[in-house]
Subunit: 76 residues, 2 copies
């Protein structure tokens, strides 16, 4: 899975897991990273799946911060 | 905010918080409760907001399990 650009306004990546617990643990890791970075994604958590969406609300589109956080999420 | 029935197939409730961290902590509580119950919601986490959606995939609609979990989430 890769980051997809949606309407040139946000990037989104889907992560798959073996169960709900693994998906929840990943959500927590992404959330803690977001707190450290001071930049917050939308996170859709469901059984075995997490979808992370990044955008910069202040400018209504994508900024460097989104790509920095995306790269750090990829390294989790 | 109350639980809303969507298309007679799922129930959904929005929870508001003061920041991302509080919303993340609530997501973890709901997730841990879901693991205990063996019934798993979809959870949409964003800054200051969590939307919990409950349905029973096996029957493609609502079952008693959804309302039991909804009541327990209300008591978190």
């Amino acid at each position: 899975e890769a980051w997809e650009v949606i309407e040139y306004k946000r990037i989104e990546r889907k992560f798959k897991f073996n169960d709900f617990k693994e998906a929840l643990d990943f959500t927590v890791k992404v959330g803690e990273l977001a707190e450290l970075e001071g930049h917050h994604p939308d996170i859709m958590l469901s059984w075995g799946k997490v979808v992370v969406t990044l955008t910069t609300h202040k400018i209504g589109g994508l900024s460097e911060n989104d790509f920095i956080l995306a790269a750090k999420i990829d390294r989790l």
